[in-house]
């Protein structure tokens, strides 16, 4: 995984992957993708209220050891940042970018005494067939090396068991087809991260334009202050 530095203030423009052009029709040009910009001073933690966007529905998934785990056990009890990923993602502004952003955020959370033991990250694979428990364990090794911070990698037994989770979070996914109508090995989904409070309510959603680490950190602190 390639590390990308802190996002705030960074103006990073990356050309679209060649793979995207292959997906689009001739007339469609997805153009350039850019990293999120942050040209403001974020409001301090606790000075605002985050909306209660939706409650997370429960589901049964697999952890990186192959054990079944209830999603509710990993979206309640702590402040949770949940995202979806693929182990094979190569998009510089896709999964690698998301996980690098999370890794940097984890370091800040870990260094904040008020947040110690109160925050976890959860990464859920969108590809249960390829991303077996062993595969996500291998992928997640880089991120779960710190035993003091809970970062869980999850997958599902089968695609049908994952679909209700995707539907609940409003996470769209599609598979490219070739000219003969056969599925290729390329997937699309809109990058989203979900900030969930200790009661299991989604309180903020970050798409690429909102992956602003300082704002995300302040949001986590805001939820911690709200809980007391």
């Amino acid at each position: 995984m390639r590390r990308v530095g802190a996002v705030a203030g960074v103006v990073l423009t990356v050309l679209s992957l060649a793979g995207i052009a292959a997906v689009a029709s001739g007339a469609v040009d997805p153009g350039k993708a850019t990293a999120p910009r942050m040209e403001f001073v974020p409001p301090p933690p606790g000075s605002y209220k985050l909306q209660r966007i939706q409650r997370v529905s429960d589901a049964v998934l697999l952890d990186s050891t192959g054990r079944t785990v209830r999603l509710s056990a990993l979206t309640q009890g702590k402040i949770t940042l949940l995202t979806f990923f693929y182990t094979y993602c190569v998009d510089p502004l896709g999964c690698p970018f998301a996980h690098t952003t999370l890794a940097n955020l984890r370091d800040r959370v870990r260094d904040d005494r008020a947040l110690a033991g109160r925050v976890r990250f959860v990464s859920v694979s969108l590809d249960p067939t390829h991303d077996t428990p062993a595969a996500i364990a291998s992928y997640g090794q880089e991120f779960t090396i710190d035993p003091k911070f809970e970062w869980r990698f999850l997958t599902a037994r089968r695609v049908p068991e994952l679909l209700p989770v995707l539907d609940d979070f409003g996470q769209d996914v599609s598979v490219d087809m070739d000219e003969n109508g056969r599925a290729t090995r390329t997937l699309h989904h809109m990058l989203k991260m979900f900030l969930i409070d200790a009661h299991g309510d989604v309180r903020e959603i970050y798409t690429l334009a909102f992956l602003q680490p300082q704002v995300m950190f302040n949001d986590i602190k805001t939820l911690a202050l709200e809980a007391g």
């Binding site: 997906v23 190569v90 490219d176 997937l187």
Partner: protein, 439 residues
């Protein structure tokens, strides 16, 4: 314009059962900047939210889908329509962040219709009707639908109590559940008093900025325009302010005096730009809202549109993707104007054309080569007699001249009064995740 990025990932997925219309790449320069799938090329379909007219067809408000791809056999034809079973003053629409659903509002009955346009954009389906806006918020007249991640921010025009212009914004999640409401400010911020009125919403995520404008309430927009104009008291009840909000806190931070009902707002979203633009309906001016070096926003009038003394009534604007040009439609004189915005402090009109006896919405393709115009403003404000043309007109734009491409006569086809337009495109050879069989 920010483009929400789709991830491209190599993966192994077993077993595909069905091909689904999921990925669509769409146009427009006026959508929420973090919505996915902006169309950069040829749009395939134009969806028109049309007001029902008593005695015309089924008389119901309806979503009309028109084939807009010149390569198609049904180019320039109505290929689908879906009535909502009532007449509630159909007006504006907005996509959800994933562009799979189109929310459309009624200014009279305050209902919100959710259409699935992602599964099959040529055949939208009505999947949900939200009718608790007034009960949950006290607001009425849902106007602007602006996608936030996982939810919809709605700018309203009125309130259910006195049907005046004091209103606010409401937030629903993408499932259609109410989340929050925010009143438009009525007190003063830095000596400028808010009027509490609402209209358009526009967000700049890089600046944590949410800008709103102001129009008028149900009492005026559902009343005959001729009567309103003659009623001195009624004419006092139009918005004269814009508000800059802190998007994260949803608190108003600055109020700007912008006389004459500032309507549509467009941000210049290319990197390095720090301004938005709007047009005032009653005073016929372009206003620039710009941030100075100290981070303070200010509003100032930078150009006139037509002859303000004749009240041409600018009603819609459409900014080019590079923010260097702006289309403006003036309703009363049926004129489509183009302004050069290279210097946003000094916009210059470089082109104009009479495009109908009455013209309202104007939408352009991302590449700026196609411009679409509809005719209806409001059911009680449209012209009468032979001037009550109701149409969608598509034009080619070569940078110098608007050339007709096709036209739909909504009266002849018994479709009603066409108002807001949104574009979609056919899916690009994609399948659903369920059951993918990978080579």
């Amino acid at each position: 314009m920010r483009i929400e990025r789709r991830l491209i990932v190599s993966c192994g997925v077993a077993a595909i059962m069905s091909i689904a219309a999921i990925a669509s790449y769409a146009d427009e320069t006026c959508n929420s900047p973090y919505m996915t799938g902006l169309i950069k090329g040829q749009e395939d379909f134009v969806h028109v939210w049309a007001l029902g007219v008593p005695g015309m067809g089924d008389g119901s408000d309806k979503l009309v889908t028109i084939d807009a791809n010149p390569a198609s056999k049904t180019y320039g034809k109505v290929i689908h329509k879906i009535s909502v079973g009532g007449r509630g003053e159909a007006h504006h629409m907005g996509f959800t962040d994933d562009r799979k659903y189109l929310w459309a509002g009624g200014l009279d009955d305050s209902k919100i219709y959710v259409f699935d346009v992602g599964t099959s954009p040529s055949h939208p389906k009505l999947v949900k009707t939200i009718d608790d806006l007034s009960a949950k918020t006290g607001f009425a007249g849902p106007h602007t639908f602006y996608a936030l991640p996982g939810r919809m921010l709605i700018g309203n025009l009125s309130n259910a109590a006195d049907k005046g212009g004091v209103t606010g914004m409401s937030v629903y999640n993408n499932k259609g559940d109410f989340i929050a409401k925010y009143d438009m400010p009525t007190s003063a911020i830095k000596q400028i008093k808010g009027d509490g009125y609402g209209y358009d919403i526009a967000v700049n995520p890089a600046k944590n900025a949410l800008l709103t404008s102001s129009f008028t309430g149900w009492n005026n927009y559902m009343r005959d325009l001729g009567e309103v104009v003659k009623d001195t008291e009624a004419m006092k009840h139009f918005g004269n302010t814009m508000v800059m909000w802190n998007l994260k806190t949803m608190e108003p931070e600055q109020i700007f005096a912008v006389p004459g009902a500032p309507l549509e707002i467009r941000w210049a979203l290319p990197e390095g730009q720090n301004w938005a633009i709007t047009a005032t309906a009653l005073t016929s001016q372009l206003w620039l809202i710009k941030r100075d070096a100290h981070g303070t926003w200010a509003a100032k009038d930078v150009a006139t549109i037509g002859d303000p003394a004749k009240i041409p009534l600018p009603v819609d604007i459409s900014i080019t993707a590079d923010a260097k040009g702006l289309w403006v439609n003036t309703f009363m004189d049926g004129t489509t104007h183009y302004f050069d915005l290279t210097d946003p402090e000094h916009p210059r009109q470089t082109y104009s054309k009479h495009t109908g006896s009455q013209v309202n919405m104007v939408s352009q393709s991302w590449d700026g080569r196609r411009v679409y115009i509809t005719s209806s403003l409001l059911s009680k404000w449209d012209k009468t007699g032979k001037d009550n043309e109701q149409f969608l007109r598509a034009f080619h734009w070569d940078g110098h001249e608007l050339t007709p491409a096709f036209e739909i006569d909504f009266t002849k086809e018994q479709l009603g009064r066409p108002h807001h337009m949104k574009f979609t495109a056919n899916p690009q050879r994609v399948a659903s995740l369920l059951g993918a069989s990978v080579r």
